[in-house]
Symmetry: C2
Subunit: 337 residues, 2 copies
């Protein structure tokens, strides 16, 4: 295999990585042609698989620059399993794809360590993955990540926009910072327009940009899925690309609108800083960032206090942020940024 290695592909490094991963996950079956997941179907009347794929976006560039690559592994899992959760499904298993120009084993192991931690946090199983070494495809030190998650739900418990009812209360679950969205804009404002370094601490922030920007996306499965299973939530919006406005709109059926009151919670300092530095409009802000809410959950008003209490007991910070009312799918954000 000398010729292939000379051409830039070290297939034995790939094999060593599989070994490291087997050790991390205690799953010896990794590395076979495909991962296997036995289905236990006793409790489902009409089982439906729910699958989603996502990446981490250009937060990866910040991670590479900061030489901190474990958090984005958590991000990758979070982006996928929170999407599955938003459909009312329980995440079962996850697979990852890592594309890079030159396989750096230490860095790859770090990323995989984050993925393994995220998958565990989501109560799922890492079923397999692909590490692709592609000379000339990525610049030095660069890599891309794609994640795939599969979950299961009983058909009648799937959460769709049709479940959302007039009068529903909207509960917002605190995000852990920016999560994995808007990073092309973030990098543009901080690094290109304003020339900040990762060591700087922006006004109101507790940590430097290295730590502030790389906070991993919160995984809401363990706290929220029990409420889904108990039928206590109507719909869930995972606040990702498109920000608060676009994603809350996705849980509104025809004939309903949402009103969200910015006074109900504190928009994180980092986002306020970005607004000032980048002179971002209200629309830019509400359609790009999560504004501090990683998940917005629609619940029956009679159950709002109960759901809020249970989520808080499970470790979430929860705010009653708005209401569902008659309208045509608008998401009105009241208040000022």
């Amino acid at each position: 295999m000398d010729a292939y290695k000379k051409a830039g592909v070290d297939i034995t490094a790939g094999y060593r990585l599989v070994d490291a991963l087997k050790e991390l996950t205690q799953n010896d079956a990794l590395g076979s042609f495909g991962g296997m997941f036995p289905l236990e179907l006793g409790t489902y009347d009409e089982p439906v698989l729910v699958a989603g794929t996502d990446g981490v976006g250009t937060k990866l560039l910040v991670a590479a620059q900061a030489k901190q690559n474990a958090q984005v592994g958590v991000d990758l899992v979070a982006m996928c399993v929170n999407d599955i959760l938003a459909q009312g499904a329980k995440p079962l298993f996850f697979l990852d794809y890592l594309g890079t120009g030159h396989l750096e084993e230490k860095k790859a192991t770090e990323i995989l360590r984050g993925i393994v931690a995220g998958v565990k946090e989501a109560g799922a199983v890492l079923l397999g993955g692909e590490t692709a070494e592609m000379p000339d495809m990525y610049e030095h030190g660069r890599y891309d990540l794609a994640g795939f998650a599969v979950g299961i739900a009983d058909k009648k418990k799937l959460l769709t926009a049709q479940n959302t009812k007039e009068g529903d209360v909207l509960l917002g679950l605190a995000a852990n910072g920016l999560h994995s969205n808007g990073f092309s804009l973030v990098r543009d404002i901080l690094f290109k327009q304003n020339g900040f370094s990762l060591d700087e601490v922006l006004p109101g922030c507790q940590t430097d940009l290295r730590h502030e920007l790389l906070k991993p996306t919160r995984i809401y499965v363990k706290s929220v899925y029990p409420l889904v299973e108990a039928g206590l939530v109507h719909a869930i919006a995972h606040i990702t690309g498109g920000g608060l406005v676009e994603n809350v709109a996705r849980i509104l059926p025809d004939g309903l609108a949402a009103e969200i009151d910015l006074a109900a919670w504190q928009v994180p300092a980092i986002m306020q800083d970005l607004q000032k530095l980048g002179q971002l409009s209200f629309a830019d802000m509400t359609q790009t960032f999560n504004l501090g809410l990683g998940l917005v959950v629609a619940v029956d008003p009679s159950m709002a206090a109960e759901v809020k209490g249970q989520l808080e007991q499970a470790g979430e910070r929860v705010y009653q942020v708005g209401r569902v009312m008659p309208g045509s799918k608008q998401v009105k954000i009241r208040g000022e940024l």
Copy 2:
């Protein structure tokens, strides 16, 4: 959303792409938080999900150079569903991830057209996908693809190395060219070492390099899965990264070895040309390329003629290429290259 667009992310272009995809697939549910797949379980005693992820490797760089992007969409699906098939599972659904620096809608639609065609060829469903526009992440015109397939099998019909028996006949199913492996080496030899252009026709090849290199990976599901379902095959090796040697080794249990006779079929001209041009060793050749066989199937000798006949009727070119015998997992390739 002006600020985000100025930072290099055109979120409306992404929305338009989802619309194009809905039209291509006639699946209106695309674009929701995750794709849903109803499970029909009547026929399974112990259903097992089998999932796999893969990419296309640096064949993507050839596609970009040739401005032909539909074939690699087929490759992406093929790499994943053939892996699922190799485990004895029937592919159910597929998701794709497309990462790029700047979203070119025409190119992305072309890629997705290939993916849709591949998924259809595999008898599966395109359940969702992610198109990530990441400024500064990829060089101009570059993109990466990751695919993810999920299939189902009854536990007792899963194909593992343990099914392979002493005396089994190895049938080789013709590949459609290089498929999606070894392309870093291929590009190194053809373009870096020898300065060929895509318009040149190598000795023995029927078409120029543009067409020869970009032939899409063959999807074997429709011809091979019926035989798996009927219990007519013991094990399947999908010949991908690691070539004929490494992949056939994966279907050998402890105590058995394989012997393959190169005289049983014609190694494609393009691979012979690459060997000469790159002065590749026998090990380089057998551990990198498929040598013309996309799938190697182990069958009971009493069923070999029957299986070969059925595969040929289903449109495959099939060669009896070797045997399984006592040994310690070696794959001996007899003959000369």
